[in-house]
């Protein structure tokens, strides 16, 4: 996928037609872009292996790996 530097990851995803950013823990409901200002937590995704990243605030960078998050995501052991 392609985007522009200076965009957020969320903006680039919307521009590429991606609507579903994650699925909720309990009811597996789809979640997407909502507030765009880092407040609502609808856009949490796994970015370069780090879960719960607010992609509406995260700047796009070349080669970044962005994955749909399921539930709460998993921290790799040794991350903390």
């Amino acid at each position: 996928m392609q985007g522009y530097l200076g965009e957020t990851i969320a903006a680039a995803l919307v521009a590429n037609g991606v609507k579903v950013f994650r699925y909720t823990e309990k009811h597996k409901r789809a979640r997407g872009f909502f507030c765009a200002v880092g407040k609502c937590s609808s856009c949490l995704m796994v970015v370069d292996g780090i879960p719960n990243t607010m992609v509406c605030m995260e700047p796009l960078r070349a080669g970044v790996r962005v994955e749909r998050q399921r539930g709460r995501g998993k921290l790799k052991t040794g991350d903390l």
Partner: protein, 365 residues
């Protein structure tokens, strides 16, 4: 641990103006914002503002952001971007988190100008991807030049709903309809007329009943409402849309104020829960101020004036008597009451009056 005299949380119009005033008067000021640039929501407002010259009427929001940022950068104020204030610790300590690190900042006076967040309303499937806040639609279109969808239903006919609808039309996006639960259009008629001339129906006494779709929005059901705003059975209508935009108001972002133990009161006219504050914008916790939407939902122009008052008063309470600061406060208060004489100020006046009629509870620390 770093130390500052006046810490300001939020770099929108209120925080910027508080910072400009306090730093010019001679205080050591630190402004913290979680975005990569200053300006708050002004940066997505490409339309020209109404109002009077002293609060930048006729200037686009994005240009006001640039002007205020330049003014702040001319002072000695420290600006910390990409950083969220994630907590308050006793006494007078803020926790700051950036992507790289967590740090602490101590302060003598604190101005909270965190703004507000987008309201959602109750309807079936209101969590489906494709249901966006109006601010998010403005961000996509006006900051990044990205079309949020191809055919949109707008919910809410206040000025935000009307202006964003017009901008969507300018971007070549179809607006299927604007629904408004009240029997009258909420925003300025000059905006409503422009949209109607382009053939977009503004349906008053209508609301959204459901969003359709499994993984994302593929349509919407709207219906009429009665005088008590309850849906009327049998009036449902199906619209084929891929995006639903909610412009149904904002709520003040009071989490930090609540953690600091400021006395919070529920004032519907101000957008819900707000920190009690006096006309100098000082809350029930001495030395802690509010300014802008967090003190009650209004407009950028009132946020600018409240910021000036809070900045000048924080300086006064820190450094003692100062004729220049007193003059700033006096003038801003005068302008504020003049602005609130306008058609949309009535609600704010009612809200602030009921706020001031309440006594703050003594602070428990």
């Amino acid at each position: 641990m770093k130390h500052t005299e006046i810490a300001i949380v939020g770099g929108g119009p209120a925080g910027l103006c508080a910072g400009i005033v306090a730093a010019r008067l001679g205080a050591r000021v630190t402004v913290i914002d979680d975005n990569p640039r200053l300006g708050g929501q002004l940066i997505k407002q490409t339309h020209k503002f109404f109002g009077s010259k002293s609060h930048y009427c006729g200037t686009r929001g994005i240009d006001i952001a640039t002007i205020l940022e330049q003014e702040l950068r001319k002072t000695d104020a420290e600006i910390i971007l990409n950083t969220t204030v994630v907590g308050y610790f006793q006494p007078n300590i803020l926790g700051l988190a950036s992507r790289q690190e967590f740090s602490k900042l101590t302060y003598e006076r604190l101005i909270i100008a965190t703004g507000a967040y987008e309201n959602n309303i109750l309807f079936e499937n209101n969590d489906l991807p494709g249901v966006y806040g109006a601010g998010a639609v403005q961000t996509l279109m006006n900051v990044y030049g990205i079309r949020p969808g191809n055919r949109i239903l707008m919910v809410g006919s206040g000025n935000i709903g009307l202006i964003v609808s017009y901008q969507l039309l300018q971007a070549g996006i179809e607006v299927a309809a604007i629904v408004e639960a009240l029997p009258v259009i909420g925003g300025y008629h000059v905006h409503a007329a422009k949209i109607r001339r382009l053939g977009v129906p503004i349906l008053t006494s209508h609301t959204i009943k459901a969003a359709l779709g499994r993984e994302y929005v593929t349509g919407a059901i709207i219906c009429r409402v009665n005088r008590n705003l309850q849906p009327i059975k049998g009036t449902e209508k199906r619209l084929k849309v891929d995006t639903i935009c909610l412009a149904v108001g904002l709520s003040p972002l009071v989490e930090l104020l609540s953690q600091i133990n400021c006395h919070l009161v529920y004032i519907p006219e101000l957008g819900g829960l707000v920190a009690w504050h006096n006309d100098n914008l000082e809350t029930s916790v001495p030395g802690v101020y509010v300014a802008g939407d967090v003190s009650g939902i209004e407009e950028a122009s009132t946020a600018i004036l409240e910021g000036r008052i809070a900045g000048a008063h924080a300086f006064l309470s820190l450094k003692g008597k100062n004729p220049e600061a007193e003059k700033i406060i006096k003038e801003a208060k005068k302008e504020l009451s003049a602005i609130r004489q306008g058609p949309f100020g009535e609600k704010a006046i009612r809200g602030k009056k009921s706020l001031w009629s309440l006594k703050p509870e003594p602070v428990r620390i």
